[in-house]
């Protein structure tokens, strides 16, 4: 039996109420999700899909929802791209700022508003896939608890120049948020969305259970970047679901620098011939941070391409877990699928666990998977130091370089620069401690 909960407002205690102005289908979904949350067994030690995970991190009983505060301060701190196509700021899931310069026809709305104004469209795409990488219980909690998010719909033939920038802040002690990003494109459309996740304070524990759902239409291109830079007291579950139709191209990039514990579950479904999915990630855990990454490249259609590249630089006592599966359905002939996880071990006490996997049920496929863990070689360090660069900076340069080639695959200078700012801030923090 769990311990008696002291906080009566714990988010686990009672069913969240769906506001009356939202459509009935959504209220029903939330109620059903709450029941699913209650009845789905909690992950336990020994579950293959949670292998190497710290199950103890999954006690969320101390967290509760909270209203937004310190809004003006956080709006000021929400710096990002120089001129985003649209900018949204959420504080504790409440929309506090919105600006948009999007082309006519593009729908880009807070989810709470879109549920009313574009109810059918949202219903068609909202959490369509079954969460299958372990966090079904928490996806249900997310679905039951979410109050807002961002809905983007880019219709046929529309290309959005620039990027849609979204800030998600947690403020207050033990606050839980449920960010939701739903992006849908029509045929031959194009859009890029950047989600940034941060805490208002460095010391207050928080919880984020985030889901992003990307539905990439025929011949469309969708780039999604998630920058997770919460404080190091925060727990995160982030679930990424991507479906790519015929000739569609999806790129998902996840940066992890923050959080005490973060679980990323990323699934790409390649549903149409000629579809492509790039699944990219850079993680830089230090001290006792733990990042747990589970990926699934599901080749449903023939003639599709997926390429996964995850790079982790681990410092101090940090841990990472990577478990990835390329799954090729029976009909998915001529599949091209790659999966690489590389770990750079920056201390003798960090720990990386890798479980790459492959299951092929079709013919004439090209697949490869592999993972490596290595330390920076002494010769490499000697080379940099022989140019006058001190040992701390030499190691940083090498680790930064290790991350950069993944960042460059975002293929947008402005977003790459923004991502590198977060990477550099993390390295600066690590360097500060090692002085």
């Amino acid at each position: 039996m769990p311990a008696v909960l002291e906080q009566t407002s714990s988010l686990l205690e009672s069913a969240p109420e769906t506001p009356a102005y939202l459509p009935a289908w959504f209220a029903n979904r939330q109620q059903a999700a709450w029941q699913r949350f209650l009845t789905t067994p909690a992950p336990k030690r020994g579950d293959e899909i949670w292998r190497f995970s710290s199950i103890k991190q999954l006690d969320f009983s101390s967290f509760q929802k909270a209203s937004a505060s310190r809004v003006n301060e956080l709006i000021k701190r929400s710096t990002g791209l120089a001129s985003p196509a649209a900018k949204f700021i959420f504080v504790n899931d409440e929309l506090v700022h919105a600006e948009s310069n999007l082309p006519a026809g593009v729908t880009c709305l807070p989810l709470a508003e879109a549920l009313v104004s574009h109810s059918d469209l949202v219903q068609t795409h909202f959490m369509k896939q079954t969460t299958r990488l372990g966090s079904a219980k928490f996806a249900a909690l997310h679905e039951a608890s979410l109050t807002n998010g961002l809905f983007v719909h880019v219709p046929d033939q529309i290309e959005v120049a620039g990027s849609i920038e979204v800030h998600h802040w947690i403020v207050g002690e033990n606050t839980a948020i449920f960010p939701h990003t739903l992006i849908v494109t029509g045929t031959s459309a194009k859009v890029r969305v950047v989600d940034m996740f941060r805490s208002a304070d460095e010391t207050q524990p928080g919880l984020a259970i985030a889901i992003n759902d990307l539905s990439v239409g025929k011949n469309s291109r969708l780039d999604y970047v998630a920058i997770q830079a919460f404080n190091e007291q925060t727990k995160v579950i982030q679930i990424n679901e991507t479906t790519a139709a015929r000739d569609a191209s999806a790129t998902g990039f996840i940066l992890n620098t923050g959080a005490q514990w973060a679980r990323n579950e990323s699934l790409s479904r390649l549903e149409g011939p000629g579809s492509r999915s790039n699944m990219l990630s850079v993680s830089i855990p230090s001290e006792h941070q733990e990042y747990d990454q589970r990926t699934f490249q599901h080749h449903v259609s023939e003639g599709a391409y997926s390429d996964l590249l995850y790079k982790n630089s681990l410092y101090d006592e940090a841990r990472t877990i990577f478990s990835g599966l390329i799954f090729v359905d029976e009909a998915a002939h001529h599949t091209d699928a790659y999966q690489t996880c590389r770990n750079l071990l920056m201390s003798d006490t960090c720990e990386s666990n890798s479980m790459p996997g492959l299951e092929i049920n079709a013919d004439q496929v090209k697949c490869s998977h592999g993972s490596t863990s290595s330390q920076v070689s002494d010769e490499e360090i000697f080379y940099l130091r022989a140019r006058g660069i001190d040992s701390v900076n030499a190691r940083q340069l090498i680790a930064r370089g290790f991350s950069v080639d993944v960042v460059e695959r975002i293929e947008n200078d402005e977003v790459e620069a923004l991502t590198l700012q977060f990477i550099d801030a993390k390295f600066a923090k690590i360097a500060q401690k090692s002085l």
């Binding site: 070689s377 002494d378 010769e379 490499e380 000697f382 080379y383 940099l384 130091r385 022989a386 140019r387 006058g388 660069i389 001190d390 040992s391 900076n393 030499a394 340069l397 090498i398 930064r400 370089g401 290790f402 991350s403 950069v404 080639d405």
Partner: protein
């Protein structure tokens, strides 16, 4: 003003002695060449001067203009004006050449002072032109995917940019075709100065046709066993190192 190596002994971590009492003085303004068979300790000497931590100096000294450098770290020695051009330069993935050299220059400035980016690139491009290096090398990751000749040219580029007082070139000519060798030599010759001493380590006399040394030394079994003028290199090219097998030379 000189780089002075006196009775230098150094061992590997397992205790094997590689340098067995090296004596060599390289005054500013002079170019010295060391030749010698494989395993004679030439590369070890260059690494020990640069401060490589795999070697233990058991006795002797290395002074730069009178100041002992053996107690200094690798990067302190570099910032102090010692430069080693590597025989096998490391690749540094994800770090562009321009940023790498810039970081090295930045490391030489006092805290809070930054490099003037415009002047930096102007200077960098001029030196790349001298070495006939395409501009694309500024954006490429350090040595990654470079040919042997490109890597060596890149070493010389770094040397010119850092403008050291004492340069040690460890087999910079190895693996270069004659055209690449000429370009590298042009860069090295451009660095000749009364304010700079150089030590060339090489297997082949050919290098010395393009970079004229003032003195040539022969190293064998961890010691300098013969010294002479440039003519010594020609003699070695003709007769090889057979003389080393003769008993005690005068």
């Amino acid at each position: 003003m000189s780089l002075q190596i006196t009775n230098l002994h150094a061992t590997l971590e397992d205790g094997t002695e590689i340098l067995k009492g090296v004596n060599l003085t390289i005054p500013k303004g002079e170019i010295h060449a060391i030749m010698g068979p494989n395993g004679s300790g030439k590369s070890t000497l260059s690494k020990v001067i640069a401060g490589h931590e795999s070697y233990l100096v058991t006795s002797g000294s290395v002074t730069q203009d009178g100041e002992e450098i053996l107690g200094k770290s690798i990067d302190e020695r570099s910032r102090g004006g010692i430069f080693l051009a590597f025989q096998y330069p490391s690749e540094v993935p994800g770090v562009s050449n321009a940023n790498f050299i810039r970081a090295a220059l930045q490391a030489r400035l006092p805290k809070g002072q930054d490099i003037d980016a415009v002047a930096y690139y102007k200077h960098l491009y001029a030196q790349m032109d001298l070495l006939e290096m395409d501009r694309k090398f500024t954006a490429r990751a350090v040595n990654e995917g470079f040919s042997g000749g490109e890597k060596k040219r890149n070493e010389i580029l770094q040397m010119i940019m850092l403008a050291p007082e004492y340069c040690i070139l460890d087999e910079t000519d190895s693996g270069l075709d004659i055209d690449a060798l000429k370009i590298v030599a042009k860069g090295v010759n451009a660095m000749r100065s009364p304010d700079r001493g150089m030590l060339l380590i090489t297997h082949y006399q050919r290098l010395l046709d393009y970079i004229k040394p003032d003195y040539v030394h022969v190293m064998a079994e961890g010691k300098i066993v013969r010294s002479g003028g440039p003519e010594l290199a020609l003699e070695l090219e003709k007769d090889g190192y057979e003389f080393l097998k003769e008993p005690a030379l005068a």
